[in-house]
Symmetry: none
């Protein structure tokens, strides 16, 4: 028995007038999701807890049975893992931007003109740096994005950022946020690193060439989102499932990587509104041949929600649904469990995450079928999963996979 | 107001093709249970927690409001209590088999030919033994089964078993599972006890006679399931209910005994598929005259489930139902609350426990009646108890019994 776990980011919504007072999911024509709903068990999922609005990071931890209150230490470690840095417990990790600073020490572009190419080479210039015995790892991500890790003893994540968050101002000082010598040491190292980086980057061929073309040079590092990498449980050891992650967005790959999932690398796997959904679900199907658990993440639903665009969100859900024919029960020999949900609601009217629960459907070949006929927020109310918490999901699907660890005898 | 609490072991199931895709309980003709369902409150019970598969021991603790995560220390203490040993907090208790060992120290029969008679006398030979100031109590149960208690200071349950779990091998050594002097002492005492027991048992008249008849002698003790007896809450003190246990299986009587319930002894009270159900519910009815709370346990449902026999399970449920006429509201003066549920699901397709919730019905004369008309897994979805946890049951029925402890003023 294998498990396909599909997460549509920001799936949940609220009634939309122009959609006949239905949510985008309810309004969408989704025959495949409805088939899973009518043959499976439905419920309303409070990913963290009723009334709690999850971030995408904390939500995914909760969906995978990892208590975010215990393990979430900030975005940095997950972004760093997503970019492909190997994050070790105890590392201090940061989100980083390549930015542009002028000769008067004013940040003139927080994203170095959304630089498209060359940041990998720039990051290489800063490779293998070590300050006060602390190793510094920088890795470039997409566009201006990068991640930074400090690895060594006596460090702290109680440290302010240097990003002024507006242009036309100088970078901020790194300040220790408590009185510990660890925070002071971390501030000292970051300050020294950013200065050295500035010199090295300013003299880089790429930046000299950019300047000569009138493009903003990527000559400075803005560093934020400090987090001490937690020792999260290993998904495979915890559940006995060989697990893979089919996602585009760095954060989702990062969470998968930190939990020990195999990250499927394929350039068609992107995380946006133009993602090749057919390719993504092709890869998911292939991955199911080799893995017990395939987490498949689709990001576009959330993007349309943040833009406040319910019609496009609805159409995007329909496009996702079209691709799900691959996983219908008739194509499997009673050996595939399918779970579909969202990581949180992002109502188009909010243009941001909300605490509204998300619908969840779990289909397995001999599950207790409930009377729900369609996949959607209001339909799920009648499901036999009732209201459930994200932290209970893994136990419930392990039960469907018959991977039962009895408590007691 | 009195409470009858009926637990059908392993009651919950999954849809069965040959039963029109209904569960055995849904398919069964159960007019009496349905009457309670239609006049009462229904819900789906997660005995421990959603997604957690309970053992019978942990499940019953949870049903009685005793947190198994806090109090469950292994099967030994409950089995020992079930066999009739008085288990005191701090005792180290074990499940024990009378077994057969040959002159080359090979276990040739782990159950001494499922010896039927004489184990009480054999246990007597080992009575009142004391090693290093530790009292050793052995009591025979049914067939080859017995329970062992070590009582004294400086003992530990961090100790391996001597049962090789296969025949044709020698017994294993007792090994301390940690570095504590307590575990070492316990290993020493068990080793010494088993050696002494072997000598005494080998020379026992019964065994000499068995050998001369070609029967395997019960000349060795295999000891497993170490658990330090917890100090569980006293049911009567906790809830103010004079409580009695009407059960056949040792485990269920053991749990009742440890919680301080009166164990009703009657040889007709057995725990199997051929149990005299009429007698069991007669005894339950009589017991209700003298006690406020009567826990009545029926085991056969679980046995048929482990055998993967949904039709017999369904018929057995019908037989139970027939006996419930005794407790219908018309036979009482608005002074009986009836609660019916299972301790866990044992789907016939799994042939083992699962994490699926079990239906529960609570009838009391003036409860809030919901729209559920029949007792069963899918019907319970519409009940007004919703999804609930085992640990909440006692509070809910105490409310029906009007034994309300206000929290606050």
């Amino acid at each position: 028995m294998k498990l396909l776990f599909i997460v549509m980011d920001g799936l949940g919504d609220r009634p939309i007038k122009e959609l006949d007072d239905k949510t985008p999911l309810e309004y969408a024509h989704t025959p495949n999701m409805d088939k899973f709903a009518s043959m499976g068990m439905n419920g309303l999922l409070h990913v963290i807890s009723p009334g709690v609005t999850p971030g995408s990071d904390t939500a995914h931890l909760a969906l995978f049975g990892v208590d975010p209150y215990k393990y979430y230490t900030g975005r940095g470690p997950f972004e760093a893992a997503g970019i492909g840095l190997e994050v070790k417990p105890g590392d201090i990790a940061f989100r980083t931007n390549f930015a542009t600073i002028n000769s008067e020490d004013i940040i003139t572009d927080r994203r170095a003109g959304r630089i498209k190419k060359g940041t990998k080479e720039l990051a290489k210039l800063l490779e293998k740096m070590e300050i006060d015995g602390v190793k510094i790892l920088l890795k470039a991500g997409t566009e201006h994005r990068a991640a930074l890790i400090l690895r060594g003893d006596g460090l702290s994540d109680k440290i302010s950022e240097n990003d002024p968050h507006v242009e036309g101002k100088g970078p901020l000082e790194f300040k220790p946020l408590d009185d510990s010598p660890e925070a002071q040491k971390t501030a000292r190292i970051l300050t020294s690193f950013v200065m050295k980086a500035k010199t090295l980057l300013s003299n880089a061929e790429l930046n000299i060439s950019r300047e000569s073309q009138g493009l903003p040079p990527a000559n400075y590092l803005l560093i934020r989102g400090a987090g001490k990498a937690p020792k999260v449980p290993n998904f495979e050891e915890e559940y006995g499932l060989e697990s893979a992650c089919v996602a585009g967005g760095g954060l989702y790959k990062g969470i998968g990587r930190m939990l020990g999932m195999k990250i499927i690398e394929d350039q068609r796997l992107t995380g946006g509104t133009t993602t090749d959904l057919s390719a993504k679900f092709d890869v998911a199907l292939e991955t199911l041949e080799k893995f017990d658990f395939v987490f498949t993440h689709v990001k576009g639903t959330d993007n349309f929600s943040h833009d406040g665009n319910p019609v496009e969100k609805m159409k995007f859900i329909e496009k996702i649904d079209e691709e799900l024919y691959r996983f219908l029960p008739e194509n499997f020999k009673n050996d595939l469990v399918v779970m579909i949900t969202g990581d949180h609601s992002t109502p188009c009217s909010f243009k941001d995450h909300s605490a509204d629960p998300v619908p969840v459907v779990i289909y397995s070949p001999d599950c207790r079928v409930d009377k729900v006929e369609k996949f959607g927020e209001s339909y799920a109310t009648d499901g036999n999963l009732g209201h459930l918490l994200g932290k209970h999901l893994m136990g419930i699907v392990l039960n469907e996979l018959r991977l039962v660890h009895k408590f007691g005898a």
